[in-house]
């Protein structure tokens, strides 16, 4: 297993394309089940993620490790986007929302998703304060959509551990999302 630390841009072409390919895969997983005609847009997302990655020193142990980094990156891109969008829409005002009808048609949720995503991000951060492992595992699950066995292999943990952490994290998230009166203000920054 080779370890190297490099700016993506200065990596050999084949590795660069591997990186792109991987990001593209991740992006299209997000798009699955969405409307058609997203190829271009998926590419745009990939490029966006890639450019951010490329500008920072990255430590790639192997493809799986890269996937983890990409997941983090994807999380950042999406959360940043959600924040921007929220700020733009609401003119920066804090706003109260209710998260009630959030099942069903995703398209109907447009507008809420940004807030929810910001909240998910917040919860991941919270979870990390008392269970960083579970937080990392759950981040991978959400943002890279790796399978549980892949996550286990990536983190060198048993599959059972991964399953348990995900179950617990999921349950905790749900409790937080529900128990929250959701009348509180959306965290900023």
């Amino acid at each position: 297993m080779s370890t190297f630390s490099n700016k993506i841009e200065s990596l050999p072409t084949e590795i660069q394309s591997l990186v792109l390919e991987e990001l593209h895969r991740i992006a299209s997983r997000f798009m699955r089940g969405e409307q058609q005609g997203h190829t271009l847009q998926a590419t745009a997302l990939v490029n966006e993620a890639y450019l951010k990655l490329a500008n920072k020193t990255m430590h790639v142990v192997d493809k799986k490790h890269f996937t983890a980094i990409a997941a983090q990156q994807m999380r950042r891109i999406l959360v940043d986007h959600a924040r921007e969008k929220n700020a733009a829409k609401r003119g920066g005002n804090q706003v109260k929302v209710t998260l009630v009808d959030h099942h069903g048609d995703i398209n109907a949720l447009c507008g809420h998703n940004q807030l929810e995503l910001i909240y998910i991000d917040e919860l991941l951060n919270q979870l990390a304060t008392f269970d960083s492992r579970a937080s990392q595992i759950f981040e991978l699950k959400l943002f890279s959509m790796l399978s549980h066995p892949d996550i286990a292999e990536l983190l060198q943990l048993s599959l059972a551990t991964i399953e348990r952490d995900i179950q617990a994290a999921k349950a905790w998230f749900k409790v937080q999302l529900q128990a929250e009166t959701l009348n509180s203000s959306v965290p900023e920054g």
């Binding site: 089940g33 997302l45 999406l78 995703i106 949720l109 995503l117 008392f130 959400l142 179950q167």
Partner: protein, 888 residues
């Protein structure tokens, strides 16, 4: 939350989950030490699923956000209103923005427009500035071949937009292909593009991104130039001053690299000539249906290096290489003017392109009206600068030396393999192979596209770079030695003797370093590779004695090394090389009898090895014709013209059967055959072969190359034999110029040519000129060769001949007897020279009334001549009649 508490909660939750619902509460309460907070938490986590209200699906939220982010790229949506226009849908995506189709409906009138906007995420103050500039530029342009500007502004959200004429049509390349336009019509379309660009230039605007996708053709066949997105006002200094750095960087992303001009790739100054390049590239695409450089499988950096370093393939050649019969048939029409026009527009250096788009248009019109165009083909332009011309070589040559380079490394590897088996060091071989391959690959990376397309290429610049790289290479001396030798070989073949010599010296250094320090052990191979190359260089630079010494020493070494770890395959190869080298060296030293033996050895062994199908078969087959040529050469010089002619023809046959492009080897063989045929008095045939040889050499080599000199000499000889003396003298003089320029006046050839000129001037009775050539020649030979050398005897004989013509009989007697004495010291000599000297001496004696003594020489001369040419030949008859005349 507390970590420890969470840890407990998690454990309880995980375990409880495995239990049936009804047992969960009991289990949790029992195992939580009565901590009500923990119990509540765990039950809550367990209980969420029971609730009727579904919790949010987290993954869906993420996906929805991603989708939202993507959709957000589109700043306009169907139905949005921009001014009076309603957005119908997206048309295209660019690097920075999108273009939407929109329409305005008024009464029965429907107007379609294109609205261009920047992606929201690209809205930076700089981009907005740029976008406004485009708007400003477009607003100032009003031309039927430029998509017209309708309006622009900013939406309420501060989103800048431009409204343009909507061009419904195809890109110009698609249009040409779909309508299967002929070349004339394609050029007509191109002239419309030119008109648009000329107009823009007149308004001080450089487009900077001319490419097929920015040139549309509508249903009426009208060209519309689009996308002034990166256009620039020529005198717009503001952006050059403080933001030029950003600007260049921005281009790096915005420009389609495949269409960029060299100066755009380099980020240097952009002028109207950058558009000339873009137009040249577009014209190339229109004429050949292919872009200048194929960028499909290339990375950005490799496209950039192509743009900077590779010479484009001429349109006609590009078409010729095409699979499509229809495109191939265009080649003929493109050859000449259109090739030249495109190539001039695509010059790497802006100053060598058309100075303006108007000039480009002029040349196109001139071409259409069959006037001579202003641009000159490269080859002519290049001739102006000797140095640059030197760098330009045809592909024929490139392919040749690729082969020689590769075979050198195979030989080395073969040797390393033997050693590897002996010393069990597999790593070594792999490493040598890898390093060699890598270096070779680097050399030819730049060259390869052209090799395939059959186009001229700047080989020497590639080589020079390789030589520099080599000097700086941090690598084992063994590998460096090998690479130096290989490069030296290439330079040697190119006639760049100085560089070759430098590299040989360098290689010698590496070889001795290698024996001391290297971890590799292919020293034996290195010695022979180096020796062979050095010997060949010595021969090419006229150091015949040194060459003979070197090959003799190598030969002795080889006999010893045969039992010292040299593989038998390599032994054979080196033997063949050295014997051939000895043949050449003896031949150049005037010892043809000896040369014959060695040439024969080389040929015989070559054929044996090839017949046995051993390791170096390819290498040997490639050179087999040369072995025949060497032998044929010696056979001629030893007077066996029939055999010589047969052997040379066989060699030419072999060479032609290899189906490679006409090579220098072939030219050599043709020249040799021409020479032999002259001896057989078959001048007309000889002329044909000599001309074929000269043509090949001229195609491959530059003016003044030693082999062109040799071919010229041959033809001069033939013309002399055909009694076309003035033509012959012309060629000799040309030859003398070339020798002086390429080899210097100290090269033995120089004196040889002067000797020949002397002979020719005797034939046209210009004795004064003859005298001055011959005396200079004689003086040079004396300086260059040891006393009694054949060349000295030759020029003395000619001087004697001159004296006879000038009726200076005493002078003739003296000179000729000196020549005879020199020749007599040689081995039994039945050469033409011997005959001629004897004959002339005889003539001088007859004139001196020493009939008895004269008869002796007459007999000797005529016997040799009869043996060589028969009694019917011109050679015999000419001298015979002169002798008879002297008797009177």
């Amino acid at each position: 939350m507390d970590q420890q508490k969470w840890s407990l909660i998690k454990d309880l939750f995980n375990h409880a989950q495995t239990l049936p619902k009804e047992q969960q509460r009991g289990y949790v309460t029992e195992h939580s030490n009565g901590d009500s907070e923990i119990i509540a938490n765990v039950l809550e986590m367990l209980g969420v699923d029971d609730q009727k209200q579904s919790p949010p699906n987290l993954t869906n939220i993420v996906a929805a956000t991603a989708s939202d982010l993507l959709l957000d790229e589109q700043v306009l949506r169907v139905g949005d209103l921009v001014e009076h226009f309603e957005v119908v849908g997206p048309i295209g995506e660019g690097g920075m923005g999108s273009v939407f189709l929109a329409k305005r409906k008024e009464n029965d009138f429907e107007q379609f427009v294109a609205i261009k906007v920047i992606h929201r995420k690209h809205i930076t103050s700089q981009n907005v500035r740029r976008f406004r500039r485009e708007r400003q530029i477009l607003a100032s342009l009003n031309h039927k071949n430029i998509a017209s500007f309708i309006g622009g502004g900013e939406t309420q959200q501060g989103q800048p937009y431009i409204i343009l004429e909507y061009v419904k049509g195809l890109t110009i390349t698609q249009y040409c292909q779909q309508n299967n336009l002929n070349i004339e019509l394609r050029i007509e379309l191109f002239k419309q593009v030119l008109a648009a660009v000329i107009y823009a230039h007149q308004n001080l605007i450089v487009h900077r991104d001319i490419k097929p996708s920015n040139v549309l053709v509508n249903a009426q066949g009208e060209v519309k130039l689009l996308d002034f997105g990166i256009a620039k006002l020529i005198q717009d200094t503001s952006e050059n001053s403080n933001t030029s750095g950003d600007f260049t960087q921005e281009f790096a992303r915005v420009l389609t690299p495949a269409n960029a001009s060299p100066e755009q790739v380099l980020g240097s100054n952009i002028t109207t000539r950058s558009d000339v390049y873009g137009l040249g590239a577009l014209l190339m695409h229109l004429l050949t249906d292919e872009p200048v450089f194929d960028s499909t499988d290339s990375s950005k950096s490799s496209i950039e290096s192509m743009i900077l370093d590779s010479l484009p393939v001429r349109p006609s050649v590009k078409c010729m290489a095409c699979d499509d019969e229809n495109i191939r048939s265009r080649a003929k029409a493109l050859k000449g003017d259109l090739d030249t026009i495109v190539m001039k527009a695509l010059q790497k250096e802006p100053e060598r392109r058309y100075s303006s788009t108007e000039h480009l248009l002029e040349d196109i019109i001139r071409h259409q009206q069959n006037y001579p165009i202003s641009a000159k083909p490269d080859s002519v332009t290049y001739r102006v600068s000797k140095f640059i011309q030197r760098n330009t070589l045809s592909t024929l040559f490139v392919s040749l030396f690729v082969v020689s380079l590769l075979s050198a490394s195979i030989i080395i590897m073969q040797q390393s393999k033997v050693i590897q088996q002996e010393r069990d060091s597999a790593v070594q071989q792999a490493f040598v192979a890898k390093e060699t391959a890598r270096f070779m690959t680097n050399i030819f990376d730049a060259a390869s596209p052209n090799v395939h397309a059959g186009e001229s290429i700047s080989v020497k610049s590639v080589l020079d770079q390789a030589a520099t790289d080599l000097a700086n290479l941090q690598n084992d001396p063994f590998i460096k030695a090998q690479l130096s030798i290989t490069l030296a070989k290439v330079y040697n073949q190119l006639g760049e003797y100085q560089q070759s010599s430098g590299l040989i010296e360098q290689a010698e250094g590496y070889v001795s370093e290698s024996t001391r320090t290297s971890v590799f052990s292919g020293d034996i191979s290195l010695k022979y590779l180096l020796g062979n190359e050095k010997g060949s260089l010595l021969l090419n630079t006229g150091q015949y004695k040194e060459a003979l010494q070197l090959f003799s020493a190598l030969s002795a070494d080889l006999a010893r090394d045969q039992f010292q770890g040299l593989s038998s395959d390599n032994f054979d190869l080196y033997y063949i090389w050295i014997e051939h080298g000895l043949g050449s060296a003896y031949s150049y030293n005037g010892l043809e009898e000896k040369a014959l033996v060695h040439y024969q050895n080389s040929l015989t062994r070559s054929e044996q090895v090839i017949a046995m199908g051993k390791v170096h078969v390819d290498e040997l087959t490639k050179d087999l014709a040369s072995r025949y040529f060497g032998l044929g050469h010696s056979l001629r010089h030893t007077g066996d013209f029939a055999a010589s002619s047969e052997v040379l023809l066989r060699g030419i046959e072999i060479e032609k059967s290899l189906n490679r492009p006409p090579s220098l080897d072939l030219a050599h063989g043709l020249n040799q055959l021409a020479s032999t045929l002259t001896k057989l008095d078959e001048f007309d045939k000889a002329e044909v072969y000599a001309l074929e040889g000269l043509q090949i050499r001229r195609d491959i080599l530059e003016y003044g190359h030693i082999e062109i000199i040799a071919s010229t000499g041959m033809l001069s000889n033939i013309y002399a034999k055909q009694k076309q003396f003035s033509k012959s003298i012309e060629m000799r003089k040309d030859m003398l110029d070339m020798v002086e320029q390429a080899l210097g006046i100290e090269h033995p050839f120089y004196a040889t040519v002067m000797n020949a000129l002397g002979k020719l001037h005797i034939l046209v009775s210009d004795y004064d000129s003859a005298q001055s050539y011959l005396v200079s020649s004689h003086q040079k030979f004396i300086r260059l060769f040891p006393e009694g050398h054949k060349h000295i005897a030759d020029v003395l004989t000619t001087l004697g001949d001159l004296a006879l013509h000038q009726a200076q009989n005493d002078e003739a007697l003296m000179t000729l007897s000196k020549a005879l004495k020199m020749l007599a010291e040689k081995a039994p000599d039945i050469s033409h020279l011997m005959a001629k000297t004897n004959a002339l001496y005889g003539i001088a004696l007859y004139r001196d009334n020493q009939g008895e003594k004269a008869l002796e020489y007459e007999t000797k001369a005529l016997t040799i001549l009869k043996n060589l040419y028969g009694e019917e030949g011109n050679e015999y008859q000419g001298l015979y009649q002169r002798i008879q005349a002297a008797k009177l």
